[in-house]
Amino acid sequence: MYEIIEKKVLSDTVKLMKIKAPLVAKKAQPGQFIILRIDERGERIPLTIADSDPKKGTITIIFLEVGKTTKQLGTLNVGDSLENFAGPLGMPSEVKKYGTVVCVGGGVGIAPLYPIVKALKESGNNVISILGAKTKDLLLLEKEIEAYSDEFYIATDDGSKGHKGFVSDVLQKVIDTQNVNMVMAIGPIIMMKVVSNLTKKYDIKTLVSLNPIMVDGTGMCGGCRVSIDGKTKFACVDGPEFDGHKVDYDNLMLRNRRFIHAEGEACKLAGAQ
């Protein structure tokens, strides 16, 4: 059992939890993820690691309540425990000195971006961060990420904070004025697609972190397979980070809708209880 030792409500639908998982915390590196299961009847869901503290033995997860399991997770409190919590899974981020890097985060994708921003800064990069959300209340970890950024921008769809529009608009301006060596983008699939299309025009190396449906998370089921440059890769063991210019985003969007009907049914039933 893995105890919840801290919980923060970041918005109506986004929550942060620190989970006691010393073995995972000891090994966790930026870019990796965990698989959790709430109880004996639960499904296994992957969540990217938002932070880790090897001394305290904790892993921070930040999640959007989007389906049955994340909604149920959101109802748990400090002192409650999760049945299973396995990790760290996947390959760590390619953290090294690139020069000038732009870190683009959208929605809850900002959470896993945070440890990468930190690591890139600590590796001596000039870090430019661009965070985006529908509205300012949905922005995450602004202060934390700003603290590790040389330049920091915000974009909101409704203009409630920062640039009114998309993160890609801001990225375009950055590219127009500076020499960018690498772009790291984590967020909704459509955002990663737009960012990758933009950087491809300028031939700027771009990494994205993919979030397909998984079951075991250890390379066994292939449910998380993604098409990279026409080749099938497993996001759980080959990723979750891939060259953004080579990802078949449309196939990923399609595969992430595989169980949308069942998800709706489960949510409705859970809501009725």
Partner: protein, 460 residues
């Protein structure tokens, strides 16, 4: 005295009933039938049946006990060699092992050794298993990676030799393929758990959620333990590598079976994990896993469940019993067909599979006649779900993260017959070393390697 020429039948659920549930198909022998079947054994002096047993059970020994009605003694005889008889008694291919060697085959059917093993295991489980005597501790500690058939057998045998054993399991349940792969109707999960409890009662500890290679490295295990056994199996699904394989509706057999068996998707929404199959399912491949997929689909409500296989029934790798059960249940075999592409609708949802008809040519390296495509024989059938069951490769996680281990060309860890790898103190056995094989061969490997580890620890 004349001997009955045929095995006693094992009563089973009628096909039309069982395709509506996930309960086990055969009910097992009654005490009376078991005794009668045991009396068929000729008690050959040279015990030919034992030559066919990978886990070295004293087969005539336990059968004598059954014939005498002493089931407790029979259980003791089996348990002296095999810690998991309720499992092997269900999934072992006895027809090509112990029963293949039975003298009675000369006049008819062999003794139903597998059925008798199963009977005794079930008798013992229902009665409550006797706690075994604890051996004297050797003070040595061994890490076992993976709790599948190889790992459980190795761990149980090592514990009986007096070593302290900790098993590291990546998933949340024990059993490996016994839990995620083999369906409930062939191997009930309560039985797997009961067998695991027995292994734990021998003094084995199991740690879940530990992905060795990620959560902890083999090297770290080496620092802490006197020896390490790697039994991580063949969990990497093979693909057809044809267009459309990533469409919505195409699953690996592993994903499909894991959802249904381990995650209990057949009880959705009581359990949270879903599975979606639609009306028409096509399974590709003809091994036991393919039969499991096709039969599971029927139980999930598929109207039609096809098996597409590029050779003929004679070449099918599945056990005859599994093929027979699939046929009884209404699985449709489309033989001599080779899929060439999956076709989806405008939303990317699987709609059809196109295949070529085949004919058998000259024998290939495996000795089976090679299937050759018939030009211009393309056909399509509408399907909602495709299950790819054409085999698994060794799990790559440990080979990827432990560079000192020598790896074979199929991704397997290179080990000798006793499990010794290229690194002293690290042993490997089961599918991770041999490539995908059977449960009982993995158990046999676990047994041999446990002896080799014992010798290694004594000389260390």
């Amino acid at each position: 005295m004349s001997v009955r020429k045929t095995k006693h039948e094992m009563p089973e659920q009628p096909p039309q009933e069982r395709i509506k549930n996930f309960k086990e198909v055969p009910y097992g022998y009654t005490k009376e039938i078991a005794i009668e079947e045991a009396k068929r054994c000729l008690q050959c002096k040279n015990k030919p049946c034992m030559k066919g047993c990978p886990v070295e059970i004293d087969i005539p020994g336990f059968i004598t006990c059954i014939a005498q009605g002493d089931f407790d003694k029979a259980a003791e005889v089996i348990k002296a060699k095999n810690n998991l008889p309720a499992i092997s008694g269900r999934v072992c291919p006895y027809e090509s092992q112990c029963e293949e060697e039975c003298t009675l085959k000369k006049i008819g059917e062999p003794v139903g050794i597998g059925r008798l093993e199963r009977f005794i295991a079930d008798y013992e489980r229902e009665k409550g298993k006797k706690p075994p005597k604890k051996p004297k501790s050797t003070g040595k500690i061994v890490a076992v990676v993976g709790s599948g058939p190889a790992g459980l057998t190795c761990a149980g045998d090592l514990a009986r030799m007096g070593h302290a054993v900790t098993v590291f399991e990546a998933l949340h349940d024990p059993g490996g393929v016994l839990m995620y792969g083999i369906p409930e109707f062939r191997l009930p999960k309560a039985i797997v758990k009961s067998e695991v409890e027995y292994v734990k009662s021998l003094g084995v500890a199991i740690n879940y959620d530990v992905v060795v290679g990620k959560t902890i490295d083999v090297k770290e295990l080496m620092e802490e333990y006197d020896a390490v056994f790697i039994g991580t199996g063949a969990g990497l699904p093979n693909w057809l590598n044809i267009p459309g394989e990533n469409l919505d509706g195409v699953y690996s057999a592993n994903e499909f079976l894991t959802r249904v068996n381990m995650m209990k998707a057949y009880k959705f929404p009581e359990y949270d994990t879903p599975v979606k199959i639609g009306r028409i399912v096509a399974t590709f491949g003809a091994g036991n896993v393919a039969m499991d997929c096709a039969r599971t689909s029927l139980r999930l409500g598929a109207e039609k469940s096809y098996i597409l296989y590029r050779r003929t029934e004679a070449e099918m790798p599945a056990r005859a019993e599994e093929i027979e059960h699939a046929k009884q249940e209404g699985v449709i075999f489309k033989l001599l067909t080779n899929p060439i592409r999956f076709i989806g609708d405008e939303k990317g949802i699987l709609k059809e599979v196109e295949y070529l008809k085949m004919q058998l040519g000259e024998p290939d390296d495996s000795g089976r006649r090679r299937p050759v495509p018939i030009p211009g024989s393309e056909e399509k059938i509408p399907i909602d779900t495709a299950l790819v069951a054409i085999g698994q490769s060794p799990n790559p996680l440990i080979p990827q993260t432990m560079k000192e281990l020598k790896i074979g060309k199929h991704g397997n860890i290179i080990a000798d017959d006793d499990g010794r790898t290229s690194v002293p103190g690290i042993f490997a056995g089961g599918d991770i070393a041999t490539g995908a094989a059977t449960v009982i061969l993995a158990m046999g490997a676990g047994k041999r390697v446990a002896r080799a580890i014992d010798t290694y620890l004594k000389n260390k």
